[in-house]
């Protein structure tokens, strides 16, 4: 792997990537995470990468998000376990069948909330978040200014994230 472009860029920028993980709050585990990142780029099938350093930063960023998500889920499992352990005898837990129902219901709620933002805002959000189109290209595509795209995206991402958080509260 060291021969491949990505491996070489990794080694040349090891310290920068380490600093990035530390900035993310990796603390003592930053070195371990860097090692994990090294293994990841070594084992995955990656074609030629046009911006190798940017690619590595993004992979490091994803690694931190995965780690953060895993910690959060572990905490939630602990809470769920405590709640399950204090269930009143004779009352069953929510059946597993509810899960897909909730997924589809959430989809419906999210789509409604997105549509409620207006056609342009919803379309811009979809192009950016789901299709992965750059803001500049969306502006050109839709014939609006870059600042309109930025403003719409702020509005839409904020609405979506707030909605997501409300699911946890309910």
């Amino acid at each position: 792997m060291a021969e491949s472009g990505l491996g070489a860029v990794f080694l040349a920028n090891r310290d920068r990537l380490l600093r990035f993980l530390v900035a993310h709050g990796a603390g003592d585990t930053a070195e371990d995470l860097l090692q994990e990142l090294w293994l990841k780029i070594g084992t995955s099938e990656i074609g030629p990468v046009s911006q190798p350093l940017s690619y590595l930063y993004r992979a490091a960023n994803n690694l931190m998000l995965d780690r953060y998500r895993a910690t959060r889920q572990a905490v939630q499992r602990d809470i769920a376990w405590t709640e399950a352990a204090t269930t009143v005898p004779g009352q069953s837990d929510q059946p597993a069948g509810e899960r897909p129902l909730i997924a589809r219901e959430q989809l419906r709620i999210v789509q409604q909330a997105l549509d409620a933002l207006g056609d342009r805002t919803a379309a811009i959000f979809r192009r950016h978040r789901l299709d992965g189109v750059a803001q500049r290209d969306i502006a050109r595509e839709m014939g609006v200014s870059l600042s309109t795209v930025e403003a719409d995206l702020r509005k839409a991402y904020r609405a979506m994230i707030d909605l997501r958080r409300s699911f946890d509260d309910s």
Binding site: H24, G25, M64, S92, G97, I102, V110, Q135
Partner: protein, 311 residues
């Protein structure tokens, strides 16, 4: 402080958006922002994860395409619109405000061991016959909803236009239109065979109407729903000790034999994918070894169970 929190959240949100741009390259600027205050990284993580969750919800699969195995059991969609509207409205009424429904539900379970069969009658007069190795989740507060967690059951439903009976199975839903139907849930597979009346499969997605004599089969994660035919008299014939197959794999035959007889039956890898058409008459004898000539395999003992092996 709340004002500060807003500012940090807004900044974090901007980073979430900027990082999503495919050409994003200002990693060092992003790093500097995260390092500037201890709660910056946390604010970013929380928002980035909520954003990932939203994308995941938006990627929830929509309706699957339908594959028709046998001559046209599906009627043209347009002609169904009249009653479908009713079914959709009714199912929406059930799920609007899912949080309310799920907290009000008072679920209980009915379970059979392999080889055991029993029947339950619900408050509305509907009856459900459970094959062995089956678990159903029912709701004391709502006798019109049943979840088939695993196994096989025949639903004989007291029909009510205003309050259709709904069976949940895997990720899917079946809504009755005056019905007797059999449902199998095993190994990530859902099968439905209709003996009388009709059911609607996933009224809010595929919205397929299955009339008497029609069957449906879908694997979890599959892109398509397969539709087929079944003789109405053969539906749920397991209740009379007859197991009827129309091209199921030996693995599926073995799973149903296990459910029915309570003896562990499995298919050897060499025959696992082989398909079987025919009728196995078990009656009350439950003698798996006797089935060898019909199945065209060798049935040999393995521990306390049986293996279907090549001849």
């Amino acid at each position: 402080m709340p004002e500060d929190r807003m500012t940090i959240e807004d900044e974090a949100l901007d980073w979430v958006i900027r990082l999503r741009d495919p050409g994003f390259a200002n990693w060092e600027e992003f790093e500097a922002w995260m390092s500037a205050a201890p709660d910056h990284a946390d604010a970013y993580h929380a928002m980035a994860i909520a954003d990932q969750d939203i994308a995941e919800i938006l990627a929830t699969p929509g309706p699957k395409p339908l594959i028709v195995n046998t001559p046209a059991p599906v009627m043209p969609r347009r002609s169904r619109r009249g009653w479908l509207g009713g079914a959709v409205a009714a199912s929406l009424a059930v799920v609007t405000g899912y949080a309310v429904v799920s907290t009000r539900a008072d679920p209980y379970q009915v379970e059979t061991q392999p080889g055991e069969r029993r029947s339950v009658t619900l408050a509305d007069g509907s009856t459900i016959a459970l094959n062995g190795g089956t678990r159903l989740t029912l709701d004391r507060r709502d006798p019109r909803i049943a979840t088939l967690d695993r196994g096989e059951a025949v639903f004989t439903v007291a029909h009510d236009d205003a309050d259709p009976f709904e069976v949940r199975v895997g990720d899917d839903r079946l809504v009755d239109v005056g019905t007797r139907f059999n449902v199998v849930r095993a190994d990530g597979r859902t099968e439905v065979q209709v003996a009388e009346g009709a059911v609607v499969y996933n009224p809010r997605a595929e919205a397929v109407r299955l009339d008497a004599g029609h069957s449906l089969r879908v694997m979890d994660g599959d892109a398509a729903v397969q539709l087929g035919a079944v003789a109405p008299g053969d539906v749920a014939s397991w209740r009379e000790g007859r197991l009827i197959y129309d091209g199921q794999t030996m693995t599926e035959v073995a799973a149903q034999l296990t459910r029915y007889t309570g003896q562990t039956v499995r298919a050897a890898p060499e025959v696992a994918e082989r398909r079987f058409r025919g009728i196995l008459s078990l009656g009350d004898r439950n003698d798996v070894a006797d089935l060898a000539p019909i199945l065209g395999v060798k049935v040999r003992r393995s521990g306390s169970g049986w293996v279907l092996a090549p001849l």
